[in-house]
Symmetry: C2
Subunit: 478 residues, 2 copies
């Protein structure tokens, strides 16, 4: 019965790209806006972002960050101050040339990121070592004029948070950038049920103006990597450029050390791709706007069924479960496929036969597993079951990721992995740019991440045969 | 001692405009951005907005509204669809003419408000009476190219929420717009300690495209009114223009009824002006990022003082009080004026003499009142005291508002009130445009609000002498 409803979306394994777009639209996460390249974040999509915000905002504040809001428009002269930075962003900018019916004397840029605004503000508020550290975060949208767009993954506008901090020392700044990276990693584990590879970016993949870029990388079902969040140690480049200086205890004027960091609604793209299946979206309970749906069976002929559903619904609400009782007159079959499409983690069915036996039937969205539990214990069991689902989904994704990291010590192995297998090619590298160019030309693969805590497992770079000590993960990437 | 520190701000009664800007800057709520007409919302300013958001978001959701996010850029063709609407907004628009290094084929507008984006989306999602009501809200910023700007009160960009809903009937839509108005009014009472006059706008002051505009109006210390939030019943104009139709039970295609509603960071301007004094900002506890500051006296010579401060700080935190212990080596005098400037509702001092007596000294920011309370009961008493302060501040503002509403039945009274008194001129009106023009020309006053629940108190309009039944409040306004 459910099959008929989901014929509208294609199979995930047949055509991941089409499946992905189908799910985004049919699960009502977004729709295309009249503004070309822009999307409408619909309630079921936006609420996923609200859960991400709620988790991160608390974690950031616990690390001492406070929220601020900077202008949405940046004068070009300000954007142009930091040369490396502007090179990275200028080609993607949207330009405001008129305001209030007049040509502007200076063109403005719709913010693509706000380092230069923060820097210009920091120079006014930082004077002494006492003023450090400064830890600011901003929730906003940014605009980048992308040629090809995909919902959540790449768009002309996305929602994000951008953190900007100043620190006394290089070491403190780096440590802070790393502590935020761990928060992002925890978000994956605790909320999104997505495991990441944590590490730093090779020089060629660093953020414009960064001395170090740290990253969390996820693996998509087609074996391509998706960069899901980055934190940057920006050194003293912005402070030097914007003349942000503090008087130190030794009476010397010094430059503070800058970090910036962000995750965006791209995370929703990862969420959809990592967990979704041929029936549609699959949501981990922690991020699901509705965690459990109750569907009455033969309700029209049984007042007891209706009553039992309402009683359970209230009992679950009291336990803090986000629950929906759908007692509309649509058929159970329609409801099954509708809520499967919407990715609701747990379906609860109650029918006359169940009631006779004093049980209810559960269906776990991600595994397809069915269970019967005693009705009287339901409100007690279900919150724990939602935790179990959260952990089960994380474990499933974790196993997938770690079974798709292939250590390669020879060129043939590299070739084999990147042409026939899905996943990360783990290899030793000298980090030379010829290697990167070769990998790009032959396999369309880029160096994704120099992972933390990976031990040397061979002596030479499989491309050049040169001796080296560094492990790197290559993959094709979004 | 404190006096010296606050010499930096001018007296509120001497020059309200200068005082206001001084407080915004010195209390570190905002600073001017390099982008002309735009401001930086600093942490202590932005956190006030976060409290407003947190309160309203819960209330909106309780009324069934869900959050969405629409593009920040609007194609001009879409903005131009509704004629009344575009007339209202076109002169204030910022235009994007280039993107990704190329001239755009169609100019985009940085959103000044999003009715047309919502309408364009609604036409895709509303088909049947079953799809109604639709209740959406969006938290975002908007850009309006204002010539003269003042922090929070009027700026090229402000933060706001904009709600957009569709309803089956006119009556349901109007009732919904009114229920949101009551939420705004509650925000004033529960959070901001600002009383409003609630009512509807006369035709001349309605939102572009609205059939009815409802408003909350506050009174500033200079006797000028400040419109603090509006909700609109927009009729079926947008649905007709964008072809949003639903199939009703009777098999007829019909247009749904539209409401929109918003409050903005302008509320922070009202908060500053209504409560602030010559020492700086004064915050109601409910909205204050720090509700109470503990200042140790002679801490350097008394380990007991330091210990008592820490103990109290933890005890208050456990009670959910947002408390700051400032045990820095700055002088108590510096701290007193600093936290007075910042508007912290309650100051707690603990010194060796207090400890001997087993008491602590409290200073209530808004009233200047000093109290001593037993140290051992502090954690119990202080949360209640914060509630008392919240209510006291509301009452003070309420009394001010209601003692500045002057009923006028003759032209001389109108003239007297609007030229010598501060406040609202309450009068009967025919609502004719000649009256409005006269009031504007002679007194720079505009019709602010037709208040709910006001009884007819005279038979004639004091300007024209014509018979009429409607009460109206006139005032000069921001």
């Amino acid at each position: 019965m459910a099959d008929k409803k989901v014929k509208f979306i294609c199979s995930k394994s047949d055509d991941l790209a089409k499946w992905y777009t189908d799910v985004c639209l049919k699960a009502e996460l977004m729709s295309y806006a009249k503004t070309k390249g822009f999307i409408v974040y619909r309630p079921d999509g936006y609420s996923l972002w609200e859960e991400v915000q709620s988790y991160l905002d608390k974690r950031f504040k616990a690390l001492g960050a406070r929220n601020v809001y900077m202008p949405t428009l940046i004068p070009t002269s300000l954007l142009n101050k930091e040369k490396d930075f502007v090179k990275g962003f200028a080609p993607e900018c949207a330009l405001v040339t008129q305001g209030g019916g007049k040509d502007l004397t200076e063109t403005m840029v719709v913010r693509p990121t706000s380092e230069c605004l923060f820097s210009d503000h920091f120079k006014d508020i930082v004077h002494s070592y006492n003023d450090l550290p400064v830890k600011y975060n901003q929730w906003c949208s940014v605009v980048r004029w992308e040629k090809t767009t995909r919902p959540f993954l790449r768009g002309a506008e996305f929602l994000w948070q951008e953190g900007h901090t100043l620190h006394y020392s290089k070491e403190e700044a780096k440590q802070f950038a790393l502590s935020i990276l761990r928060v992002y990693n925890d978000l994956g584990k605790d909320v999104l049920a997505i495991p990441f590879v944590m590490g730093r970016k090779p020089d060629s993949e660093k953020f414009a103006g960064a001395e170090e870029t740290y990253t969390i990388e996820a693996l998509m079902p087609d074996g391509q990597a998706l960069q899901c969040g980055t934190t940057h140690y920006l050194g003293t480049g912005f402070p030097e450029c914007f003349n942000i200086r503090f008087l130190d205890k030794d009476n010397q004027l010094k430059y503070p050390h800058y970090t910036s960091w962000g995750v965006s609604t791209r995370l929703l793209g990862a969420l959809i791709m990592v967990h979704g299946d041929d029936e549609g979206l699959v949501l981990p309970p922690r991020v699901a706007p509705i965690q459990s749906v109750i569907i009455p069976i033969r309700m029209e002929t049984s007042a007891e069924v209706r009553q039992a559903c309402h009683t359970l619904c209230h009992a679950l609400e009291e336990k803090g479960v986000r629950v929906l009782l759908d007692d509309s007159d649509k058929t159970p079959g329609w409801k099954f496929s509708q809520y499967e499409m919407k990715g609701i983690p747990l379906r609860i069915e109650i029918g006359p036969k169940d009631l006779e036996k004093g049980v209810l039937s559960l269906s776990i969205r991600y595994s397809g597993e069915k269970r019967q539990i005693p009705l009287e214990r339901a409100a007690e069991v279900i919150p724990d079951l939602l935790d179990e689902i959260q952990q089960g989904m994380y474990k499933k994704a974790y196993d997938y990721l770690h079974s798709h990291i292939y250590p390669c010590t020879t060129y043939e192995e590299v070739k084999d992995v990147l042409s026939s297998h899905k996943g990360f090619c783990k290899m030793m590298t000298t980090g030379e740019s010829e290697d990167e160019e070769k990998m790009k030309a032959e396999f369309s693969a880029t160096p994704r991440v120099i992972p933390f805590d990976e031990k040397k497992f061979a002596d030479t770079d499989p491309l050049s045969g040169k001796e080296c000590d560094q492990v790197i993960y290559y993959a094709r990437a979004y």
